[in-house]
């Protein structure tokens, strides 16, 4: 019977303890009756030993594999063989690999990383470059409208009339008074929610024991009602929202 990717996944799942009892029974029945399936299981075991030794398995997968297949005499032999083979391959690398230049080495290192990591790294590089370009090109706001807002927890009312601002300036400088009960944070994150329920997060540009301030470009504040919340951010990146909120309206 022809084997497919799903069979490979099933076999891998069987060896890593990810199948249900019924699925395990099905695999074992196939192992006893299908030569191709049995052979693929043998290949998969070798490949998992290889991945285990290269520490490429997830923690829980590695632990399962250790407690099961690797604990058997066959598993121990497989591991010993894979270890010897790995050492042999390193010691007898093909000449093409030994004569690699630094650039080829870097390319090989790049290629050796998992897909996800490579995509993440590429996205990060693009984001950094885009950020640098944006910062160097975006004009800094020249003039500001200012608004100082009290926290609803301080005023003990969420029904307080929101402050209104008519934005003709380049940006709005918001000063948010912190409630007396707020625990000071290392940094502050400010979330601005518009009346479509869309949230934009900002890092506070200034802060002291009583308030945090930030500047929001006017382009990001079309007319409408806004709700603002403030959270403290600790050194370990724990985010703790400060009770209460702030409201304002842009006309």
């Amino acid at each position: 019977m022809a084997l497919n990717n799903r069979d490979e996944e099933t076999i891998r799942g069987y060896l890593l303890g990810k199948l249900t009892d019924d699925e395990e029974v099905n695999v074992e029945q196939r192992l006893l009756t299908e030569d191709g399936f049995f052979e693929d299981m043998e290949v998969a075991k070798d490949e998992l030993v290889e991945e285990y030794q290269a520490k490429q398995l997830k923690k829980e997968e590695g632990e399962w594999f250790e407690r099961n297949f690797l604990a058997s005499p066959e598993g121990k032999q497989s591991q010993a063989f894979a270890k010897a083979l790995n050492r042999y391959v390193v010691d007898h690398r093909l000449p093409s690999r030994q004569n690699r230049s630094l650039v080829q080495g870097l390319v090989a290192f790049w290629n050796s990383q998992p897909d996800l990591l490579r995509v993440a790294a590429a996205v990060a590089v693009v984001a950094i470059v885009a950020g640098i370009v944006w910062i160097s090109r975006a004009p800094s706001p020249q003039n500001f409208a200012t608004l100082t807002l009290l926290n609803t927890a301080s005023t003990r009312s969420s029904g307080i009339e929101p402050s209104t601002v008519r934005l003709k300036e380049d940006a709005l400088r918001l000063t948010l008074m912190l409630p007396a009960s707020a625990t000071p944070g290392v940094r502050y994150r400010v979330d601005v929610i518009n009346d479509k329920d869309e949230t934009k997060s900002y890092e506070a540009a200034g802060q002291n024991a009583q308030s945090v301030s930030l500047e929001i470009p006017a382009a990001q504040l079309p007319p409408g009602h806004y709700l603002v919340t403030v959270s403290t951010v600790s050194d370990s990146h724990d985010v703790q929202r400060i009770p209460g909120s702030y409201r304002f309206t842009v006309e």
Binding site: M41, N68, P73, A84, L85, H92, A108
Partner: protein
Amino acid sequence: MNKEPPTEEAFNKLLAWLDSDREKAAERYEKIRLRLIRIFACHGCVEPEELADQTIDRVMLKIGWLLENYVGEPTLFFCGVARNVIKEDLRRRLSQTVPSPKEEPVEDDADQKEYDCLDQCMQKLPENNRHLVLTYYEEEGHAKIVRRGKLAQELGITLRALRLRTYHIRLQLRACMESCLRQNQAR
């Protein structure tokens, strides 16, 4: 188990149940035994061969009933019995303290002997197979996967065929290495 071991008559009946041709039946018996051993190993059983024999013994004890009543593929019946044996073995192991493989001491000397034997065995391989193994294990991580894909293309075979080809070479190498280690031990 306190039950009597199966008789020779039961063994003959078992073979007859597996295939009417005794030679084919014997082959089938060996195949089932080997695969049961592998299944038990996957479950971390410390004595998979003994458990495979225990499974076959249990089937043989029921052979009279099976011949009269069982309809279907005989190997599937072995599978059902093996599941029970696995569960019993797991219960037994859980009630004992089994040292984790991590806790075992690292044997540098044993590693070196294995390496030396493998080195000898690699030299006995035909040059194309030796080259294939070295190329197959070149690179690391994602680059290894890419390399293997290219290698399969170069050889004009599917990736699965390449995996099987290298698996058979590894089997050959393992058998050679184990025989070399046994010989060294006997000296």
